[in-house]
Amino acid sequence: MNHIHKRRIYIIVLLAVGLGLAAGLILYALKQNINVFVTPSQILSSHLSPDYHFRLGGMVKKDSVIRDKKSLNVSFIVTDLKSEITVFYTGGLPDLFREGKGVVAEGHLDQQQHFIATQVLAKHDENYMPKNVAEMLKKNR
């Protein structure tokens, strides 16, 4: 086998290893880390287990934000104008969080179909509404 062939085999092996590495890593990581984006109606129509971590999107219902007297606990209702879900969160809400505007919360459901949020996401523009949420709202109006 001359060195040209040897060289080509090295290149092919390296490429195959690289691709294999990449493919393996990606499939493994994607399986566990994709966050599905769900609206309140979709939650109520399907049965999601308590350890399913996902993102809830919708609009914050007006006058639904209740802040605890002593601690950082807060609760509010997320709606898509058809169904509602109560969200519980511990911590400060982001600046752009407002009643009547869009919100995205990441977390899981508890036994009573309440959403326990681990993160409430801030958006860049106070008029921004996640695209799917906007579509849902338009459909339900």
């Binding site: 890593l25 990606i26 493994y28 994607l30 880390n33 984006f37 911590g91 600046d95 523009d125």
Partner: protein, 622 residues
């Protein structure tokens, strides 16, 4: 008046760009020296017209000329001077104008530094065509000089952009993005000519390093700015827009290293040329992702879908044309088949690792888009995916990086490499062990051990190869900063009343009081805190909560006490009535090392350019 002048300059610039693009190509085809020589004056003319248009827009901002829609949407009479100057690139239209301006600036740099380059007309032609496409995009879909509808009082600049970081981050980032269009043009010109030699590799490498330095600076500034402004202590969020800047950075790094190989040994020419094309494609893709509104991201603005389609078409046409030329010339690009040397193998492995990293990030960024386009649902791919996928790749890269300085450019026995390195390897394993014994996470131990490995590997190369030494050192410092700050940092969110104290790490924070504060376009509340450590006064911090009156937007202004070994970071949350406030405190050790590492990498790049220049001059005089 300004509107008319601006539109005219841009239209004339468009025409000049078209001529700058087509004439030299025709001249090259027909060997006509006059049309070839036309490239430079047209390029300079286009630069002058674009500069005029940019200056006119800036003047419009300074004078608060709200008859222009773009100015009305991004400025206000009460906006501070500095932000009025820089609001020019605060939104879509202006930033595309900035892109075009910087493209012409790079063209000028190329003209100045490469006066004797025989490919100059062709390179200018390609740059002219790129400029022409962007000017079309600007004038047809995103005209910054479009007239405002009805009388306007100004909508004010987005408060998140009213920060010093905003003043430098976009221009530097764009300098990086656009810089890769120069390497693209250089490579395409050489491909059209059919001659890819050491001279091409040298010039392409110089401009690639320069572009890479700016891109690194832009990314570092973006990270630092996000840390200061977003109020949650993070410095990187794997946001699609951030990824869009990381992709050309990764392929740019691969390009620099592969061009070094081509310059030195004349091998891997086809791969280097392809990388140059890929870098540019990625920076265009980045522009598309950021500006078209297809991605759900903290950076996206509600945007016109027409723009997205235009950009995508532009991307498709430019890349297809380039690949077409590449494929035609591919048979002529075969490199001499010499047996491999260790340094060559390592550089190629490095290339592969960087490109694999780039592809995985690309996949993660585009996956939600693909899912959405195929109507398979709405998903998002978050930080856990990227962290998981990048970790093994980065660790492998660091391992390889450490061996690189010991691999010679001539054939060398593996035994010899091991002889040079085994003592250093043991030292690093010792460091890893010490870190694990301190009960720090496994990942931290490995990363720091590998960073030390890189540091000791370049220890003796600072004199011979300062570029490599500083860049690699910078990367090691960067990784140490990331790992230590993420494993040692603590965060606390509490509800405090004035007079109460809270403790984080070894520091005590006393909430003194709140007072009202105001600026030219905002009013707010400032909370005063005193920080002590073992009863010794350290600093007074004053985070604020501001309302920007024009947009009715609430913004958190954090306060940070920076230091080499740790940052103290405090942000106000929400008011809870009865004087209570939620406060977020962060104790972040070694976080400044992240950006210090970035600066060292840039220093390495600059030294690399200087060294190359010196070597080139020696070769000419020799």
């Amino acid at each position: 008046m300004i509107q008319l002048a601006g539109q005219l300059s841009l239209s004339f610039a468009l025409m000049l760009a078209l001529l700058q693009g087509l004439l030299p190509l025709w001249g090259s085809y027909r060997d006509n020296p006059y049309t070839l020589a036309a490239a430079r004056p047209f390029a300079l003319g286009q630069l002058a017209l674009v500069v005029i248009a940019y200056v006119l827009l800036t003047i419009a901002f300074l004078n608060s000329d709200f008859m222009i829609a773009y100015v009305a949407e991004n400025s206000h009479a009460s906006l501070p001077f500095m932000y009025r100057l820089t609001a020019v690139w605060g939104a879509h239209e202006g930033s595309i104008l900035l892109w075009i301006l910087l493209l012409n600036v790079w063209t000028l740099l190329f003209i100045l530094f490469e006066k004797q380059n025989s490919n100059l007309p062709l390179v200018l032609a390609i740059l002219g065509l790129i400029s022409f496409s962007f000017l079309c995009f600007l004038l047809l879909t995103s005209n910054p000089f479009a007239a405002a509808v009805g009388p306007q009082t100004g909508h004010d600049l987005n408060p998140l952009l009213q920060d010093p970081g905003f003043v430098i981050h976009p221009p530097m980032l764009y300098m990086g993005y656009v810089g890769f269009s120069v390497t693209f043009a250089i490579t395409l010109a050489a491909l059209i000519r059919g001659r890819l030699d050491a001279n091409w590799a040298n010039v392409a490498r110089q401009f690639a390093i320069a572009a890479w330095c700016f891109l690194t600076l832009g990314i570092m500034l973006g990270s630092w700015w996000a840390y200061r402004v977003l109020g949650w202590g993070g410095f990187w969020f794997w946001d699609p827009v951030e990824n869009a800047s990381l992709l050309p950075w990764l392929s740019g790094t691969a390009l620099i290293h592969t061009l070094a190989l081509t310059e030195k040994r004349g091998t891997a020419k086809a791969w280097s040329a392809l990388l140059a094309l890929i870098c540019f494609a990625l920076s265009l893709l980045g522009t598309f992702l950021v500006r078209s509104g297809v991605l759900i991201s903290a950076h996206t603005f509600a945007n016109d879908p027409k723009r997205g389609v235009f950009l995508l078409l532009l991307l498709a046409i430019l890349i297809c044309a380039a690949l077409f030329v590449y494929l035609i010339r591919l048979p002529q690009l075969s490199s001499p088949q010499k047996p491999f040397v260790p340094r060559e193998i390592i550089l190629l492995v490095n290339s592969i690792l960087l490109i694999v990293a780039m592809l995985t990030i690309l996949l993660g960024t585009l996956y939600p888009l693909i899912f959405d386009a195929l109507h398979l649902g709405a998903i998002s791919v978050g930080a856990p995916y990227f962290n998981l996928v990048m970790a093994p790749l980065v660790l492998l890269m660091m391992l390889v990086m450490g061996f690189a300085p010991f691999c010679a450019w001539q054939s060398q026995l593996v035994k010899r490499i091991w002889q040079l390195t085994w003592r250093k390897c043991c030292f690093c394993l010792l460091i890893m062990l010490i870190i694990w014994l301190q009960r720090m996470p496994f990942m931290t131990g490995i990363s720091i051990g590998l960073s030390v490995w890189i540091l000791v590997s370049v220890m003796s190369t600072f004199r011979i190869a300062p570029g490599m030494a500083f860049s690699h050192t910078g990367f090691a410092v960067f990784i140490i900063g990331i790992m230590l700050s993420s494993s040692l940092s603590t965060e606390k969110e509490v509800r405090l009343k004035p007079g109460q104290t809270t403790i984080i790490g070894p520091y005590q924070f006393l909430f003194i009081d709140t007072e009202g504060t105001s600026g030219s376009n905002f009013r707010g509340i400032r909370a005063n805190f005193e920080v002590t450590k073992h009863n010794r006064h350290i600093v007074n911090l004053s985070p604020e909560k501001r309302i920007y009156t024009v947009r009715h937007m609430v913004m958190t202004k954090v306060d940070i006490h920076p230091s080499i070994f740790r940052d103290l970071y405090i942000a106000l949350g929400e008011p809870y009535g009865q004087d209570d406030w939620s406060v977020r405190l962060y104790y972040k050790p070694f976080i400044r090392w992240i950006w210090a590492g970035g600066l060292l990498m840039i220093l390495g790049g600059i030294l690399g350019i200087i060294q190359n220049k010196k070597r080139e001059e020696q070769n000419i005089h020799a």
